[in-house]
Amino acid sequence: MLNPMNISAPWPRRRLLKAGLAFGAGAFLPRLEFARGAEAPARGGQLVVAIFPEPPYLTSALSTLGPAQVVSGKIFDGLLTYAPDLTPRPQLAESWQVGADGLSVRFALRPGVTWHDGTPFTSADVAYSLLTIWKQLHSRGRSTFANVEAVESPDPLTSIWRLSKPAPYLLSALAAVESQIVPKHLYDGTDPLTNPHNLAPVGTGPFRFAGWERGNYIVLERNPTYWDQPKPYLDRIVFRVLPDAAERANALETGEVQLLMSSGVQLSDLARFGAAKELAVERGGYAYTAGITSFEFNLDRPVFQDVRVRHAFAHAIDRDFILKNVFYGYGAIATGPIPPSLTQFYTADVPLYRFDLAKAAALLDEAGLKPDAQGTRLTVNFDPAPIGDSLQRAAEAIRDTLGRVGVKLQLRTQDFAGFVRRIYTDRAFDTILYSANAAPDPAISSQRFYWSKNFQPGVAFSNGSHYASAEADHLLETAQAESDPKERRALYVRFQQLVQTDLPTIPLIAPEGVSVADRRARDYSVTADGAYGNFAEAYLVPK
């Protein structure tokens, strides 16, 4: 998973690539002009998707690594799924109801759903998964479901959750890839971390696990007894492990692979893919996993405790240049910790830090950081997270512009394990650059970087800046338990304004999810989690 070479390394919930191209799709397919979804879906065929790194196991209830979620998302359904605008939709739960006090949620489960081994899916599976897996063994579930005190299963198709405090974000966390329901009859009484079904999962989803050759491929086949007939349409999905970005691009162009997604795509290849007539580049479609690329200070360093220095840094980073030249325009300028795609919480009404080197220099002067004989005001270390090329190249751009105001950033490199250890355990760093998930709800994602109670040395991607603000804590904690959507938004708007003033972290870019696929591949991205979804509706237009 590390990436000494040109390899996209693991990333917090960065979904990795996925590619699907019909095997042997001819090089010279005629351009298919009909609109997506306009014709009746065709049945059959095999979709080949590239993934990397290879997941350690295939239950995303336990591993939140992107590729594990990509594969697992086809084998398992969730209680809910989400429309591209993040509106919840029924999946294994047919309906749900939040109690008037916000302290209970009642789910009516879909009847007639069976696990791939034929056992009926019931509320006992939900209770077991929540209490034993999500609350204890899922890296985010431990906090997401912290307020769930009890789960009642009055009958096999009803699940009632009792909360200690309202938790409105719960309903955003129930997608299959985030909160995966595992079969109780196969997990109860075992050690879930070493349960053999993690390598050969039994799920409820549209595709069944059919084989895994390590280092080579994972194959899923159509679940003939899927609850949502006549779906799924594909006979088979093959996930090929392709470690090298150039090889992924080649395989896509030769038709050996039909779908590449997100960080599996080298942005520099996209222009070429866009010009290929058998390929289609699809932008967006990943609101559920939207992320933010941020520059972060170690506030334990005295020099960064002066807010003028932090503001000066923000003025000395050219976000437009980075968006255009590093991200090739695939993304948006971030104005705060919440990405613009999270429309119900996002606000642009925050202090903005225009690229202005003169202003940056003035602020540094004001803070007493005068240039020495060589023009250097400050020398600090800078550790970009070793995940993919983009961060490294963005780091170089940042070093250049800050260098022009006399701030010398010394770029250091290390592998992923080294990065995590240095930043979050040893805290032996001055500044970092990283990308992290910022969806589907601030309480699940952004909060952990700003909440003072989440300053947890030893824990990766916690509050690494050591930002501690009573006001921010109050806003976050109130918003977390606020049931009224309007009031909740108001709290997060204030939160964004506050942290953009305090600026412990400078959010730079909200990268956009991109998929590249064979033009014959349709409807693989119909939910907010894009190609992490279950592919029940995906199909291949016959040649």
Binding site: P10, S139, R214, N250, F416, D426
Partner: protein, 334 residues
């Protein structure tokens, strides 16, 4: 180790073998020790990687994982435990992959052996032909062209060669697949399946062979020149032996010695796999497994692969030594 230590007289071959095996085992143990130490010196452990990948966690979860994987124990304790395991011929368990290490290695061994085997054969065959040709036509245009090409192949980065071959033969011409070991779920059987496998093997084998081909060609050319100047060649020619026999049997047999040494050494190293070629061609071999294990800090797996490769290197070298005495009876196995 002397015959006295062994306690009774062994025939020379057996003594040679016993001594070599004894040395080898000590060597393997040192390798394990060094690998174990070095990877523990690297910052971060498997749990850092797994928790980092997960993107969020809390301290309790991290402590739980460390305890599950035994990473809360001090390094010497873990080393002792590992060595004790090895004593039972147990290569340990990869927590990252949820599988026994030996099984993981076994799954990848075939692919690596196939790729290494075919590229080595390709490199040796090519080198013998080109080396002889260059040596026999010393300082002619043929010699010059071969030498320049060899130098070029030697100096070109392997990954670049691989990518260019893919671009030309897969992406542009569409003659050969761009990666993988076979067409998945093609339903092919028998000769068709073999052909499919061969088609997938061509590019990676050539890519991997080119570098070694260049090296071996230069080596063989030099040693052929050396041998061709010797008295016994003149004698052979004086006897009126046809040139084919003189070169093919008398000269080549002797000129091969340095090549055998070199191949033996490199084959050992190659058994660990070629990370670059395996990555570029998505070849599911041991090299990638080891490479990923470093990044994932999957200690059991990495040490297991090192240990396994070490044993293979030793075996190959032993065979090379035996091959020497067959090629040149003057070298005795002592």
């Amino acid at each position: 180790m002397s015959a006295i230590a062994i306690g009774f007289r062994l025939p020379p071959y057996a003594r040679f073998l016993a001594r070599r095996i004894g040395q080898s085992l000590a060597l393997v143990f040192c390798t394990v020790l060094i690998t174990f130490t070095v990877i523990n010196l690297a910052p971060g452990d498997m749990v850092d990687v797994m928790a980092g990948e997960a993107g969020a966690a809390d301290a309790g979860y991290i402590a739980l994982l460390r305890q599950r994987y035994g990473l809360d124990q001090p390094v010497p304790v873990r080393l002792l435990h590992y060595v004790e395991q090895l004593g039972h011929f147990d290569f340990g368990y990869s927590f990252r992959h949820n599988k026994p290490v030996l099984q993981l290695i076994g799954e990848r061994l075939g692919a690596t052996a196939l790729l290494m085997g075919s590229s080595t054969i390709l490199a040796i065959t090519g080198a013998v032909l080109l080396g002889i040709m260059a040596a026999r036509r010393l300082n002619t245009a043929t010699d010059g062209i071969i030498s320049v090409l060899a130098l070029l192949a030697y100096a070109t980065p392997v990954f670049w060669v691989g990518l260019m071959l893919i671009l030309v033969f897969s992406v542009k011409l569409r003659w050969l697949p761009s990666g993988g070991m076979e067409t998945l779920f093609s339903g092919l059987t028998g000769p068709a399946r073999f052909g499919d496998l061969a088609a997938h093997l061509v590019l990676p084998a050539i890519t991997l062979a080119l570098f070694h081909l260049a090296l071996y060609t230069r080596l063989l050319r030099a040693s052929m020149l050396e041998v061709l100047r010797q008295d016994f060649i003149r004698t052979a020619r004086a006897k009126g032996l046809p040139e084919r026999i003189v070169v093919g049997r008398h000269a080549l047999g002797n000129a091969l010695l340095p090549l055998v040494t070199m191949v033996g050494m490199q084959l050992g190293a190659a058994l660990g796999g070629s990370v670059v070629v395996e990555s570029v061609f998505a070849w599911p071999g041991l090299g990638r497994l080891a490479f990923d294990a470093v990044g994932e800090r999957d200690l059991n797996l990495l040490v297991g692969i090192v240990l396994f490769s070490g044993l293979l290197v030793i075996t190959v070298n032993l065979l090379v030594d035996l091959l020497y005495s067959w090629l040149d009876p003057r070298i005795e196995t002592q």
